[in-house]
């Protein structure tokens, strides 16, 4: 072994030992300059090659190369280690409390009544029904007489009515006047429509009774429409609204504008029919009133009751929303208290 070789070997050992002690990027740079820089022993060995006798040059050159490569790869490894350590430190120092609340975004919402109304409308639209709307201020004729309730008919007692100071003009107590409007517009076409809208009744404003509320009326008129069609249609609606396994039942009722008349109950969705405070222990919730359109109403609507028949149904959006979210006080809906609305 020549001195040259020994020097280079020595340099390798010393440099690698020094590299071991390097802790920072600055120290690493100093090390690089010292051991791989222009004036480092290895680089010096290359520039001194010319001074050596020609026969020694290949050997010393090879050794110098080997040392240089060893130092370079050791440098690369060390450099990567330092970078990793540095990244580690940075990441640790950037740690945040992920349990702090997120940045507040103001979310808009539909009113719960409009949510329910929209769902009901969508279900009927999916079933091929049109949507028809009519005025909230009505004549006595449309609200009562054309619906088979001539003046002083006892059934008028079923609705506590707001009258206006104009004779014969009132605030509609139900969406049923729309039946006459749409029939007169469409006769003798088939009708398959729903009539959503706000209705008003003279009641005391309490947790249980409202003066204004939203109803949806269903009307089907055509040739050969039967009670069985009504049952099927309303069962379809209930299946879509309350789940396909929701049990329903129809029981006889009375409305002056339908005959036969019925009320539809759906198995209480709160207790599954076992009986609870929402269904008052009965296992059933009343969801709508319905019936075959009365011949007198068909006639007032411009349809010949000998030829046409139909059915109608009416449901309260407020009531079903109330049951759905177990709202104890119906006034919550129109008070629009933001603390209530934000929950939907």
């Amino acid at each position: 072994m020549t001195d040259r070789e020994a020097q280079l070997e020595n340099e390798r050992k010393e440099a690698l030992a020094a590299l071991n002690d390097v802790r920072t990027a600055e120290e690493l740079e100093a090390w690089r300059i010292a051991h791989l820089g222009k004036s480092s022993p290895v680089m010096q060995a290359f520039s001194d090659l010319g001074k050596l006798p020609p026969e020694e040059r290949p050997l010393v050159g090879r050794v110098a190369n080997a040392v240089k490569q060893a130092l370079e790869s050791a440098y690369a490894v060390k450099s990567e280690q330092l970078r990793q350590a540095e990244l580690e430190r940075t990441l640790t120092s950037e740690r945040i409390d992920v349990t702090l609340p997120g940045r507040a975004v103001q979310r808009g919402r539909l009113h719960p009544l409009n949510q329910t109304l929209r769902e009901v409308c969508q279900i009927f639209r999916d079933m091929g029904f049109q949507i028809y709307r009519s005025p909230e201020v009505e004549t006595d004729d449309f609200n009562f007489t054309y619906l088979n309730m001539p003046p002083y008919h006892p059934a008028r007692d079923m609705w506590d009515t707001f009258y206006t100071e104009k004779e014969g003009v009132l605030l509609r107590t139900h969406t049923s006047p729309g039946q006459i409007h749409i029939m007169r517009e469409r006769a003798p076409e088939n009708i398959r429509a729903i009539l959503p809208g706000t209705t008003m009744r003279y009641e005391q404003l309490t947790a249980r009774s409202e003066i204004e509320f939203i109803q949806v009326e269903v009307l089907v008129v055509g040739k050969g429409i039967t009670f069985a069609d009504m049952k099927g249609t309303l069962n379809d609606f209930a299946a879509r609204a309350f789940g396909k396994d929701a049990r329903t039942r129809l029981r006889p009722s009375y409305f002056p504008f339908t005959e036969p008349s019925a009320e539809m109950d759906v198995e209480c969705f709160v207790c599954g029919g076992q009986g609870c405070s929402v269904c008052k222990g009965t296992g059933w919730l009343e969801i709508l009133g319905c019936g075959m359109v009365h011949p007198t109403v068909l006639e007032f609507g411009g349809y010949d009751p000998q030829v046409f028949s139909g059915f109608a149904a009416g449901m309260g959006i407020d009531r079903s929303t109330l049951m759905r979210y177990r709202v104890e006080d119906i006034r919550y809906f129109r008070n629009n208290d933001i603390r209530f609305l934000e929950q939907f």
Binding site: A104, H111, R133, E136, L171, N190, E212, V220, T226
Partner: protein, 845 residues
């Protein structure tokens, strides 16, 4: 209608059905059972109960019929007695404080033992000394030195009534030792009577429905045969002046009656049915009314005789004469008018026909001779009178729903029978029966295909016939036609086509709605109608919700005073036409609203208590009366309201900025862009609600869409806003619907890169930004694809009354990459145009 099961069972056998099954049948024929009160009977042991049960069950071992053999004084207390009692298996001594036993005290062994309801130790019953119904268990106790472990019960303790003054004295034939529940255990169905089913507001009516649906026999009580003879006609005469108001009037008479207590079973039934027992005379009329559905009225004959000066009284039914008044049994004196039907004698009105008797001629404890009225009245006339006088009346409730005149006959026979049985006395021979206007009971014919095509169920005519016959119809089935004559108990069946619908209901109801199949509609679907109105309304909601606003639903009813709060002077303009409510619910809801703004400001005021940052909207109609038009215009309004901070304070943003005019404007811009409303512009506007310098009108072309702005300080003072400032908008939603575009052309994307550069121009302070931007667009031409204002600067170096507006301009072509030279050309055009139109100076960088 409260119907005790034991009473219904007088007319139909139901022993094989439990309470739950009976209630189910009732509900499914239209007699909805709203609740069941147990008065002794046990709750059925079904797995599932569809009804709400309350009340008390009497344990068979612990409640017995017993007899009191002797009543003895208590050694240490005057107000207590000791009873020697036989409970059927042993004799015991029972302590009680019941005042109705005092009269028997110290009389030795009673010749006629008193039958009582006896509860043994451990019995669970209602505590008689606590208000309301509180269950308690009978325990052994020592009261004033005498041991007590069981008791003789009052009605309150057994849940029959709230009577606790004395103990129950049962009828003399009560079997000693029998479990009390077997003797008189009961359940009361609380039935909601539909307006067209007043015939079933009676025990017989309810039994008839049950008989029809369960295919059982109905046992109708006969009553006594109507007495023959002319004795009555000698003692009273009868005249009906208006048959259309009084189709039938019957009179019968019993003399020498006594107003003594009715048998206990009668009292118990009346109590359970919700009527207080009074005495045999009153009870007989009430009992018969509940039994048959026909209200009856009893006159004290002696009082009539006195009024007639000792002559035979004349009973006249007529309409009242103007100025006549009548003091009724409830003590009120009612003014009568010429549309009100009265029963009168020669001295004046005796009773308000079909509604309430007069105080002067009614029966009392002193009554000896009872003249009994069973009549029929025009239901519309009764209804009119009731609605005018607003007096609560059980008879009026029934007659105003239509009572068939034929019922008078049955009711009279039954009531005379009860009077004799419970009050003693003797029947006066003969009845008076004025029946000037018997109704025509409709005969309706049905064919099988009519039933099938209306109900969609295969119900044969034979089955229909069976159903109708069980309901009392007289049926004739021949040649494929069923003709059914309406029974003389009801007035709700129509004629012709309407009659068919009525029968269809009767058939379906009894056949069972549950058994009618469910079918899908098979008729052709009507052509779909595109509902732009509804779709746009929903789209408005969706856009505003996506922008973070809360949807609300508002009352239509308000008052002019409330709406005037949106004006600085708060003055109600009497010239403003409102839809005015004749019977308002309260003084702050007297009209239908005209203003969406007023609604919105109230919603903001209310909610500003709860949140420092609010953003709400509401879509709904306002009601605008139009001269010469019966109904008002219902114009759809969109109201938007914002108040307070731009966002809720959080740990990141402790003090968020307050909102300003531009927050609201940004919402409106986004909405109108979302609806694709064309040519939207904003102009400074004046509106009394808004700050004169912070109010704008929004237009599409020349069509006004609405106004918005920051609240006028004077308007703001009318409300208690706890979040400021308040910004609001009211838009014409009908116009938004009309102008919104469902179909529009998109802008193609250029494949060539845009060039972006900034310019700033110095203009006079009053130069409107919109005008400046319009001019830039105009001058820039179609290669200028975007103009974006990014800075406004005011400063000393610009000089007073000047502002610098900095825009980022984006140039782009669809067919090539633009060069610097293109940009320069456009820029120069823009700068020259701004200089020319606004005297704008390019601000050097």
């Amino acid at each position: 209608m409260k119907a005790p099961l034991s009473w219904i069972k007088d007319y139909i056998d139901l022993d094989d059905l439990n309470i739950e099954q009976i209630a189910h049948h009732l509900t499914m024929v239209g007699l909805e059972v709203e609740g069941i009160r147990l008065v002794g009977l046990p709750k059925p042991e079904d797995e599932r109960h569809e009804f709400n049960y309350e009340g008390i069950s009497w344990d068979r071992e612990k409640f017995l019929v017993a007899e009191v053999l002797e009543v003895m004084p208590h050694p240490n207390a005057d107000r207590l007695v000791l009873c020697r009692l036989n409970d059927g298996s042993q004799e015991l001594t029972i302590l009680t404080g019941a005042p109705n036993l005092y009269p028997y005290k110290g009389k030795g062994t009673l010749a006629q033992p008193l039958k009582v309801a006896y509860a043994r130790e451990g019995a669970i019953l209602y505590d008689g000394h606590q208000p309301g119904q509180v269950l308690t268990k009978l325990k052994r106790a020592v009261i004033r030195g005498v041991e007590s472990f069981s008791m003789i019960c009052s009605e309150k303790e057994l849940g029959i009534s709230d009577e606790h003054e004395g103990v129950i004295i049962l009828d003399a034939d009560a079997p000693v030792g029998k479990p009390l529940v077997d003797y008189m255990g009961d359940a009361v169905f609380d039935i909601s009577i539909l307006p067209n089913m007043v015939r079933d507001a009676s025990m017989i009516g309810i039994a008839r429905e049950l008989a029809a649906v369960t295919r059982r026999e109905l046992r109708l009580p006969e009553g006594i045969p109507l007495p023959q003879g002319d004795a009555l006609s000698k003692r009273v005469s009868l005249e009906v002046h208006k048959p259309e108001l009084n189709p039938r009037f019957m009179l019968g008479m019993v003399e020498n009656v006594q107003a003594q207590p009715s048998p206990y079973w009668v009292q118990r039934r009346l109590n359970l049915a919700g009527m207080r027992p009074i005495d045999a005379l009153v009870d007989a009329t009430n009992y018969t009314m509940l039994e048959t559905g026909e209200p009856l009225h009893a006159f004290d004959y002696d009082l009539l005789l006195r009024r007639a000066g000792g002559n035979a009284p004349s009973i006249i039914t007529r309409t009242a004469q103007p100025g006549e008044t009548l003091t009724l049994l409830d003590g009120t004196t009612q003014p009568l008018d010429e549309n009100m039907e009265v029963v009168a004698d020669s001295a004046g009105p005796l009773s308000l026909a079909g509604i309430m008797g007069g105080v002067e001629s009614g029966i009392s404890a002193q009554t000896r001779d009872v003249l009994l009225e069973a009549a029929s009245w025009n239901f519309i006339n009764i209804r009119q009178t009731l609605s005018k006088l607003k007096i609560p009346s059980e008879a009026g409730w029934r007659f105003s729903r239509g009572i068939h005149p034929a019922l008078a006959d049955q009711a009279l026979r039954l009531c005379l029978q009860r009077l004799l049985a419970w009050g003693g006395g003797r029947l006066v021979e003969g009845v008076l029966d004025a029946y000037p206007l018997p109704p025509q009971d409709p005969v309706v014919t049905l064919k099988e295909e009519e039933i099938i095509s209306h109900l969609g169920a295969e119900i044969s005519l034979e089955e229909a016939e069976g159903i109708l016959e069980r309901l009392g119809f007289e049926c004739l089935l021949q040649e494929g036609k069923l003709s059914a004559k309406t029974p003389p108990i009801r007035l709700d069946i129509g004629e012709g086509l309407i009659g068919k619908a009525s029968l269809m209901e009767e058939i379906a109801r009894i056949y069972g709605y549950e058994r009618i199949p469910s079918k899908r509609l098979a008729t052709e679907l009507p052509a779909p109608v595109f509902d732009k109105q509804l779709d746009t309304e929903e789209k408005i909601r969706d856009i505003l919700v996506s922008l973070g606003l809360q949807d609300t639903v508002a009352y239509r009813q308000t008052s002019p005073q409330r709406e005037a709060c949106i004006l600085p002077d708060q003055a109600v303009d009497p010239g403003v036409a409102y839809v005015r409510i004749k019977n308002p619910i309260s003084s702050d809801r007297t009209v239908l609203r005209r203003s969406g703004l007023a609604t919105m400001l109230e919603l903001l005021e209310y909610n500003s208590k709860f949140r420092p940052s609010l953003a709400l909207f509401e879509i709904g109609p306002v009601f605008l009366p139009v001269e010469g038009q019966l109904l008002p215009n219902e114009a759809l309004r969109l109201s938007v309201g914002m108040a307070g901070l731009r966002e809720m304070p959080t740990w990141q943003t402790k003090t968020p900025e307050p909102r300003d005019f531009y927050d609201l404007k940004g919402i409106l811009e986004a909405l109108l862009r979302g609806l694709h409303i064309p040519e939207v512009s904003y102009r400074p506007a004046e509106h009394p609600t808004f700050h004169p310098g912070k109010c704008a009108q929004v237009l599409s072309g020349e069509q006004a869409l609405g106004v918005f702005g920051e609240l006028h300080p004077m308007v703001q003072e009318h409300y208690e806003f706890e979040a400021l400032p308040v910004l609001a908008a009211e838009l014409d939603a009908d116009q938004l619907v009309a102008l919104s575009r469902v179909e529009f052309e998109h802008e193609p994307l250029s494949p060539y890169p845009p060039m972006v550069e900034d310019i700033a121009v110095i203009v006079a302070e009053e130069t409107p930004a919109a005008a400046l931007e319009a001019a830039i667009h105009q001058a820039g031409g179609k290669l200028l694809v975007d103009v974006h204002l990014f800075d406004i600067y005011r400063g000393e170096q610009l000089g007073p009354g000047k502002k610098s507006m900095a825009y980022q301009l984006t140039y782009q072509a669809y067919d090539r990459t633009l060069t610097d030279k293109d940009a320069e050309t456009i820029r120069n055009r823009v700068v020259r145009a701004l200089a020319r139109e606004f005297g704008a100076v390019l601000r050097s960088a």
